[in-house]
Amino acid sequence: MMRVLGYLAKRLVFVIPQLLGIVLVSFLLVKSIPGDPAVLMLGPTATPDAVASLRESLGLEQPLYIQFFIYVKNILHGDLGTSWQTTRPVLEDLVQRFPATLELVTLSLLLAVVVGVTLGVFAAKQPNGWVARLADLYGLSAGALPDFWFALVLIFVFYTLLGWAPAPLGRIDMIVIPPEPITGAYTIDALLAGDLDAFGSALAHLVLPVLALGLLNAGPILKMTQATVEKMLDSDFSRYEVLCGVPHNLVVRHALRNALPSIVTIISVLYGYLIGGAVLVEIVFSWGGAGQYAVQGVLNSDIYPVLGFVLFSAIFSLMVYIVVDLIYVLLDPRISN
């Protein structure tokens, strides 16, 4: 227990400088996007004077390092700037949108893990069986198919043709009132409020996007599981277990346990990636997620949403990696010394 806490403390100390570095790099990158935000905000009919005065008021004439310093100071006060598109503070926007993405991505990843790891283990158990062949095909298609195309197909089949799924217009039915935001995730909040109507509606709307993201992202997890478990089954200690007469299922289970670090790695990488990578699916389903928000910001040189999104994602990814490293320490007794 003590070694776990000690390790945690050591990692948390480094989080602040890491974040600072990430924000600095993003700031510089965003500032290098061509296009004058003042011109975009005022439209093509703006006069040069109006543009200049807007730039003045936005502080765009100041040297970059001062702009950065002001930005960081504001963050520490909870002010992430304002989006000129939504005219609302970025923090407010993100607090609403980030949980939407998180809810979608977490459930999708859960599905991906269940499907990927199960198929991967079965494929490794019987390398020449039909499951292995199916797994190969699956891995191939999952890598080749675009997620938004797959989402559109799902919508066509299950909404247009069969009418089983609700309309792809957001997270919840129009007529249902969203639950009181506590975590921001509709499903959890609805349950906490005891509102079963809202819960059912939110869940129904989640089915198709989760299927789209989850089934396709199961591909890399499957391949990684299959490859690593096969390698473990080939190792000296697995052979020794066979020599000792250990039943095959147990041998596979032990091999899986030793393969977990690699599988956990790829899951963590996917998690971080999907926060932004789910944007196309978000757009198809009008999800109102954080990825969409950031993309709009990039397209319109609206820098504060972009920077805000980067900050949120960075914090999230760093947390995920710390948790993953903790899991490693727990899984493998050889680390931590």
């Binding site: 020794y240 020599l243 095959h248 032990h254 007794p333």
Partner: protein
Amino acid sequence: MSQLAVTSEQGLESRPRTAAAPLVDIKDLRVDFSGADEPKQVLKGVSLSVLPGEIIGLVGESGAGKTTLARSILGVPPAPGRIRTGEVVFDGRNILALPELELRKLRGRRLSVVVPNPRAELNPTMTIGRQIGAMARIHLGVSRAEAARLALAMLRDVQIPDPERRMNAYPHELSGGMAQRVVIAMALICNPAFIISDDATSGLDVTVQAQILSLLSRLATGHRSSLLFITRDIGITAHFCDRVAVLYAGEIMELAPRESLFLKPAHPYTLTLLAAFSHSPKLRDTWSVPQTGRRQVQVGGCSYANRCPLAQPTCSERRPPFAEIGPGHFARCHFPVSPE
């Protein structure tokens, strides 16, 4: 004050010898390694009968096929090996012909292997107490608590210091000697009738090796098991084994009771081995043929022909039969060295 070393010879002299049916009868075992073009013959027809309660030594150099034999007897040849033909008769059945499920029940339970390099073979993420106990749980069906109790008793038997604490240790925390004892514990916890020790003492310090050897022979005697002791060091077999077999290039070249083999060796390869250990320059000149050029493999006839100082033309043409040249003493040689 002074402690008397318990020599194994005393133990061996008093061992019961039964002229009963063999416990394990290995018949003409052939194993190939699948290669790029032609499969390579690693075991070329090994036959050996092990009597109940007997310790048989098998001596061979590297590449002779020792590990292949040890594992093939249980039906698990090391990759990329495949058992081509042959039988291993145990308890009246050819276990190599059994379905995998049946064979699995025998492995570790009635026949077990003590492997070399134990730290590479133990599961790195499980404590050794759990690994030893797992054998008992799988094969004897006992509860987790009972398995832990048996594992602890086994650790005491193999004389691991501080056994209670070691139950929760991981393999990488153990020294080579201790890991070897753990593997012995795993091989013996189910009280198997037949134990194969595959080079289990190579790489250990000499004093630790001495302890492990006496431990193995004591446990084998105590449990009334037979032991197939495979090694590179012929010296060990002179003191621990009832009979000794010499393996070269996948074939048994000589098989004899201990005294016969060492005092009246018949196969030129055996004599070369003994000469090598004697450190006598005179003997080495007589009994070895130095290899000055690139490696050559003998094709056709006796596998040893190209290295044998007594080789005749016949030796490269016909494979010698495994003939009995004395009571219980066999040699695979056209011109075995005869005692005066």
